[in-house]
Subunit: 320 residues, 6 copies
C-alpha cells in the first residue's frame, strides 16, 4: 500500500516532508490561516464553504496565496485522490489546508527559489480522530467554563481561522486540570458563552435552538449546517446572548465541529443537563445529519474504534 502525500507549494511530497521552515511567518507569528474539512463516504463535505472561509481568513490577514479558489478546489480533490489508495475503501478523511505568508524577508538567502506564501494540503485518515472519539457519542462530554476567556474580535478575530490561538491551548490545559476529558467553553469579553477551542455550542430550551451571536466566535461550518438542518426540521433557531444561567437552564446542550459533527453535553459546570443523555432535539438533528451525508458516522466511529489498535500497528510497521 502506498504512502500518504501532501501538497506543498506546488508539489506532492511524502507526508514526512510536510514541514514548515522555522523562518516562515507561520511559525514566527502564528501567521497562518487554515481549514479542516472531512469526507463522508470519501467525498469532502461542504468543501466550498470551507474554502470560502479560508479565503476570508486570508483576506483579513492580507495574504494572497497565489491560487484562485477554483484552483485550490481542484488541487484539494487531486490531493484526496492521491491519498485514497493508501487506505481501505471505507476510510473517511480529514483534509487540512494551511496557508502562510511565507518566510520572512530577512532570511531570504535561505530560500534561493524566492519568497512566496506557503500552501499545503494534507489528508489524514479519520480512524485516529473518530476511533478515539467514538465513546463520546455515548457518554457525551462535560462542558466547563475555564478562567481563560475568548479574545474580542477587534483584537484577534476568531472568525478568521488562524494558527495564532494559544489561548485555546491554555483553555484546554485549564479544563484538563478540572478532570480529564472536560471541554472548555470560553466566555467572551462581555461574559457570555463564546465557543470551545474548535467547536461551537448549542442550547435547547423549550424546543428552541439557541446559539451565541456571531460576534466573537468562529462561524463554524458545522454550526451553519446545524442551523440549516434545524430549519429544515422546523425547529426554531435563535442567535442570542447566552451565559452560565441560560446554560444551566437548558434542556439540552451540544457541541458541533467538523470531525465529529455533533456531540451532546452530559454536564455543564458539573451539573447534569436534562437526564444526562442525548435529548430529543439533538437526536433529531443527529439523524438528519446522517441522512444528509448518507452515512451513519456514529456507527462508523464505533467500527473505527475497534480497528484502531490493528491499524496503528500497521502504521508502525509501515514507517519502518
Amino acid at each position: 500500500m502506498s504512502s500518504r502525500v501532501v501538497y506543498f507549494n506546488g508539489q506532492f511530497v511524502p507526508e514526512s516532508e510536510a514541514r514548515v521552515s522555522i523562518f516562515d511567518s507561520a511559525l514566527m507569528y502564528g501567521d497562518m490561516a487554515f481549514e479542516m474539512t472531512r469526507t463522508y463516504n470519501r467525498r469532502p463535505f461542504k468543501l466550498r464553504e470551507h474554502l470560502d472561509r479560508l479565503y476570508a481568513s486570508l483576506r483579513l490577514l492580507e495574504i494572497d496565496c497565489g491560487l484562485s479558489i477554483k484552483e485550490m478546489e481542484r488541487i484539494t480533490s487531486e490531493t484526496l485522490e492521491r491519498n485514497l489508495p493508501t487506505e481501505s475503501a471505507d476510510m473517511d478523511w480529514q483534509l487540512m489546508h494551511d496557508v502562510s505568508r511565507g518566510p520572512l524577508d530577512v532570511y531570504r538567502t535561505a530560500f534561493p527559489d524566492g519568497l512566496r506564501p506557503t500552501v499545503s494540503i494534507n489528508c489524514w485518515p479519520l480512524i485516529t480522530h473518530m476511533g478515539g472519539f467514538a465513546p463520546k457519542y455515548t457518554s457525551g462530554v462535560h462542558v466547563v467554563i475555564p478562567a481563560q476567556q475568548a479574545l474580542p474580535a477587534h483584537l484577534v478575530d476568531a472568525k478568521a481561522k488562524t494558527r495564532s490561538r494559544l489561548h485555546y491551548q491554555m483553555a484546554n490545559l485549564q479544563a484538563a486540570r478540572m478532570e480529564t476529558g472536560r471541554w472548555p467553553v470560553l466566555l467572551d469579553p462581555d461574559g457570555f458563552l463564546a465557543e470551545g477551542p474548535g467547536w461551537n455550542i448549542f442550547l435547547v430550551k423549550n424546543g428552541e435552538l439557541l446559539t451565541p451571536e456571531p460576534r466573537n466566535i468562529l462561524l463554524g461550518v458545522s454550526r451553519a449546517t446545524t442551523i440549516e438542518l434545524a430549519r429544515e426540521l422546523g425547529i426554531p433557531v435563535r442567535e442570542t446572548n447566552l451565559g452560565r444561567y441560560e446554560a444551566l437552564q437548558a434542556d439540552e446542550i451540544f457541541c458541533t465541529a467538523t470531525t465529529y459533527a455533533l456531540v451532546h453535553a452530559t454536564t455543564f459546570e458539573g451539573q447534569t443537563i436534562g437526564n444526562g443523555g442525548p435529548g430529543p432535539i439533538f437526536n433529531r438533528l443527529l439523524e438528519a445529519w446522517k441522512s444528509k451525508v448518507g452515512i451513519d458516522f456514529v456507527a462508523q466511529a464505533g467500527n473505527y474504534a475497534e480497528r484502531l489498535p490493528a491499524w496503528e500497528k500497521t502504521q508502525a510497521n509501515g514507517s519502518k
Copy 2:
C-alpha cells in the same frame, strides 16, 4: 566554507532541514515559546537572561522541554561554535531558540519515534538584519499608533514570548499602510502605550527616562539593559502610564530590541520629536551600550551594509 547547522531535537541538522511538522502544536496553535539572542564579538549577550525568560514562557505554557536550563545553555554554546566557522571572524550572530509542545497526540502514528517537545536552536549571521537596519541608526524611525491594540495579559500574556502573535503582524501591516517604514506602537487595553511588535519604547522628559509599566508588555532584555545602563549613568528611570499626550511632549523617544539594541524615533504620529535627531540621553545610552559590549555595533552595521550585496551573492552560490 561549511554550511550552517541547527540543533533540532537532539541532533545537529543542516539549516534547510530545520523545519517543523504541520502536525506540531507549534503550527496548530501558535503553541511555541522562543527567544532571540545576539552575539557581540561572537559572544552571546545576556544568554542566561534570555534562557531564564524562555523557561518562564515554557512554564506559563506548561511545557516541559526535557532539558535543564544548564543543558540548554551548553547546547546553545555548542550550536554557536559549530556555526562560527561558516562566516568570517567579524561576523556576529543571532541565536534563536524555539520550543513547542510537540506533535498532537492524534497524529502519533506519523511519529514512530514517539511524541516529545520540539526543541530547536539556530544561528543566523547578523549581516542581513543589521546590514538592512544600518541606515536607521542615522535616519531614526517613525513611530505611529495603529488601530490594532495590544492584548490584555490575562487573555494572552505578552510576557511569555510565544509564536501566537498574529496581532503584531496585523499592526505591522496597518503601520505599513500609513507609509512604508512606520513602526507601530500598540496601545494597551487601558489606552496607554504598550510596545511595538518585538520592541519596547522609551521616552525622555526633562532628563528622566520613562517607559511603560511592566503590565501588558514583553519584559525585553534590551529594555532591562537600558534601565541598567541609565542607572549606571545616573539617569533617573520611571515605569509609568504613558499615552499619546506624553509621547508628543517627550524630548526624546527611542526603541529597544535585541538585534539593533536601540534606535531613536524621529517622529511620533507624524510630528517631529525634539529636533528630529538622536537626543543627548539617547546618545549617552548608546555610547554606554557600546562600551558594555565592547564593540561599536553601529559602525559594524554600516560595515555589514556595504558587504551585504556581495555576501548575498555568496549565499546564492552556496545554496546551489
Copy 3:
C-alpha cells in the same frame, strides 16, 4: 384573630421566630435565593413562574433545597391557607420564599440536628406595601440614574434573584440623596439602562413598547406579564439597547414589579415625560392587568391606604 405563621424548615412557626442563624450561609455570604409573589383576591398570581425562577436561581447557586417544585408549591398553598384567617377577607398577600445553603460546616456543632438548607415561606398582608404605595398610582414616580451601576451577569447574575445585592441598596441611597422618592435605574456595564432595584423599566415610543434586552437584568415575572398583555392588546414590543437619550425621547415610561404591578414615571432625570401623567399605552396595560387578575388593585391600594393607620394600631396591640 390568630397570628401569622411562617414555614421554616419543615415546620410552621410564629412569624417572630422566622429568623436565620448568624452562622447560616445566607448571612455569611448573601448566599440565599428568594422570590416575592403576591395574591390577587387571595390567590397567588403566577406562583409557578415564580417557583420556576426560584429553582433556576438555586441551580445557579448549586443549592439543592431538598424539595421538589411540586412540594414547594403545595407547602406554599398551605402556608397561605394558614395565614388567611389572620386578616379580613379582602386582604391580599405577599408570599416570600427564602432558600439558603444552610449553616457553614465549621459551626456544625451549633446545629445538633444536622446541617441542611434553610427554607422559609412567609406571608405578609399587602396593606403596608400597597397602602404606602397607593399615592404613587396617581403621582407617578421620578426615575433617575445614580452613579451606582448594575453588575455584569458574568460577575453576579441579576437573573438569579439572590440576597447578595447590596448594590441595589447603594443605588437606593444615592437616589434618595437626589430628593426623597426618586427611583434609581441602574446602567449596565455597557452604559445602557438595566433595571431598578426590584423593578423593570419600559419605554413607549411611537406606539411601540421598548424594554432592555434580557442581558444583565432580572427577568421579572411582571415584565413578562406586561409583554404578554401588550401582545394580547396588539401593542408591538421590542427588547433593545436603551439609554438616557432614548428615555428622554420616550412618550411614556413605566416600571413593573410584583407588588404594585406597574406605575408610570412622571419624570426621567428631572425632565417631564409626556404630559407627566400616565400615558395611553400605560393605561391600556393597567386596565388589561386589572381584568386579568380580576380586581381593581389600584382602588384596593387606595382602600388599604385609608385603613392602614387603624390596622397598624391593631398590630401594635396584637404584639403586646
Copy 4:
C-alpha cells in the same frame, strides 16, 4: 460548664437565639458589615484595627450603628469575658461582629419596639476552625484561578467587608470542582490577581515580598500584619500588578487571613511552587508572627486537631 452567649442589640442572649429576622436588611440585601477577629492567648489580636475597618465599612454603607467605636470595643471585651468560662483556659476564640441597617420599614409593625440597626457580637472557640485547618500548615494549599472574577471596586467595593459576597461562594464552588481543597484566587477586572474569598495573597520573588495593589481587594488586617513584620525583618515589600505569569515565576506563594494567620501554597494552577514546601521567607514571617502574638499557633492547631473529636462529642451532649 455554662453556654455561649451573644451580644444582640443591647442584650446578651444564648447563642441559639442569635438569629436575624427575615425582614432585616441584612437578609433582604446582604446589607450587613462584619468583622472576624481572633484571640491569641485569649486576648483579641488587633481588635482596634478590625473595629476601625468595621466602621469604615459602615460608613460606606451609610449605616449609623448607634455605638461609638469605644463602646463597641468595650462591649466586645465584655462579650469575650462572658464566653471565656465556657471553655478550658487554653482555648482561643473567634470574635465576629455583624451590623446591619435593621428591618425594612415596610415590615415595621412586626417590630413593636421600633426599627434600629441590628448589632451582634459572638464568640466561637477556634477548635473547630483550627483543628480542621491544622493539616494545611504542613501540606500547604493549592491555589487555582476560577472563572469567577472579583468585582470592580466602583460596583461593589471589597474594601468594605460586607455580606453581599455571593461571588466568593461561587468561586469556592468552582475551585472545589477542580479538586476538593483547591483555593480560588479571583482575578480583578484588569485580569490581575485580586484575592481569595476571605484571604490575601503574597508572592516572594528574589527575596522581595509582592502583593496586589490595594485596588479591588479587602485590606486584610493579616495582610497589614504581614507587611509590618516583613518590614521589621528587613524584607522589602512591594504592592504591584501580579498575574498568572508572576505567580508561576514566584519562589514562594502564601495566603493570609485572620484565623490561620498565614499558610503556604504548594501549587499554583497545578504547578509546584518552589520545592512545594514552605519557603525561607514564609518561615521567617511565620516565626515572627508567633513571637509577636506570644504563642505557637501552629502547635496549638495541632493540639486542637487531636482534641476536636472529643470536644465535638461534648458539644453534642451539651446541646441536648
Copy 5:
C-alpha cells in the same frame, strides 16, 4: 446681488456678524447642538426630521431654546427665503442650525440684554461642498480604521448631534496621515464599526444591506432615508454588529450623509471592495434617491464643480 443673512437670536444679521461670544457655553464647553439640512431644488429635504433630532439633542443637553419646533420650522423657511435671492435659481443650499445654552452666568455683565440661549440658522450655497465633492461620486472613497475610537454612548452620546466632538477631528487627522483623502470609520467601544465623522456606513453582502446597530452612533437622517429606500426597493436591511472581517467580506460598502447623500467606498483598509466601482445595490439606491428628491444631484455636483472657480472669484469681489 444681495448678501447672505443669518438668523441670530431673533434677528437677521449679515453672515459676517454670525459669530459667537467667547463667553458662550458653546465655546466654553462645546455645549451646542446643531443640525445640517440640505435643499434639493431649493426645498429643504426632511427638515422636520432634522428639527426633531435637534430638539432631541437639546433635551439631552437640557437646553430650552425658547422656540417651539413649529416656530423653528417657520424661521428656517424665512431664513432660506431671504438667502435664495443671493444665488442663481439652480443653487441648492445647506441649512445649519446651531443652538447653545448661551453665555455663562459669571460673564453676565458683558450681556446687558440678559442671558439666553444662542440660536442661529444660516444658509450656505452648496457649490463649495458639492463642487469639491463631485469627483468622489466617480472615484469613490477610501475607508480606513484609525486608532481614534468612538465614544461610548453613556459617556458622550453620538445620538445627540453636538459640537463637543474633537474626537472626530482627531480621527480625520489620523486618517489623513495614512494618505490624503482617506475616510476614517471609528470603532465603537466593543470594537465594531461605529460611524465616520459625520457619516454612516453601509455594507452589502449577498444582496442584503447591513449597517451598525443604532448603539453608539448618530442616527443619520440619510441613514434612515437609505433604509427607507431599500425597503421600498425590496432590499433586505439588517442592523447588526459589523467589524473589520465583515467589511472585508462585503460585496459593496458605501457612506451616507446629508450633503452628498451617498458615496461608494473603493477600498477598505487598503483592500479593494468588489471591483472597486459602485456596486449594483448602491446604484439602485442612488437612482431611487435621485427620483425621490427630483433632481440628479450627481450631475448637479459636476456642474457645480465646473462653476466653482468662477463663483469663488465672484465671492472674493463681493467681499471687498
Copy 6:
C-alpha cells in the same frame, strides 16, 4: 474709564467684538485649546506653566498657532497692560487664552483674508468670579459622584485643555439636580475618582496628602502648586487610586483650581468630612499659598463680594 479689549488674531478689539465665526473649527468640532490664568496683585501667576500646557494641548490637536511661546507670553502681557486701566488698582484678573484651528476650508470664501488659526486672549476682572465664590471659603463645598463619568485618555485626553467637554457640563447638570451647589467629581473608566469639571481633588489621610494618579485628568497648575507647597511644608504627597471608600475615610478633602486656588469640602456624597470645616492641612496649605502669592486672596474675595453689586451697576451703565 476705558473699556476692556481683547487680543484677537493680531489685533486688539473691543470685548464685545471677541466672537468666533460659526464656521470656525472651534465651534464646528469643539476644536479649540484654552487656558485660564489669574493674576495676584495684577501679576499673572505661573503664566509660563499655563502657556506650556496650552502648547502641549495644541500639539496634541496638531494645531500650529503661528506664534512662538515667547511671543504669546509677550502679547499676553500687553493684553493685560491694556486692560488694567479699566479697573481700580486692587482688581485682579482672569486671563483666558483660546486657540482654534480656524475656519473650515469649505467656507473659505467667507474669509477673504485667508484661513488661519483663531487666537484670542482676553482679560476679565475677577470681581464676578471671586465675589460670587467668597462665601464658599467659609461654607466649603459639597462633593458628589454623578452618573456622568470621565472620558478615558485614549478617547479624549483630559490632559489637553480643550473646549470639547460637554461631559463636564452634563456632570454639572446632574450634580445640580442633587441639590444646588453640589460639586461633581467624575469617576474615571476604572471607577476611581478622576476630577471635577475644571478642578482637581485632594484627600488628606493620617497627615498624608493623596490625589488621583495623573492618568485620566487635567494636570492642573493649581494641583502642581498644591503638591509643591506641601513638599515645602514637609507634608508627604502620594498620587494613587482613590475611590468612594477612600474619600469617605479621608480626614480632609479639598478642591483646587486657578480662580479660587483651593476650597475645602464639607461633605462627600452627603456625609460630613472631618468636622465639616477646613482641616489643619488645608489651612496650612492655604496660608502657604497666600504667602507665596503675596496677598490674602480670601479676604480679597470677601471685599469683592461686598463691592460686586455696585460694580455690576457700573458695568450696566458703562454698556449703555
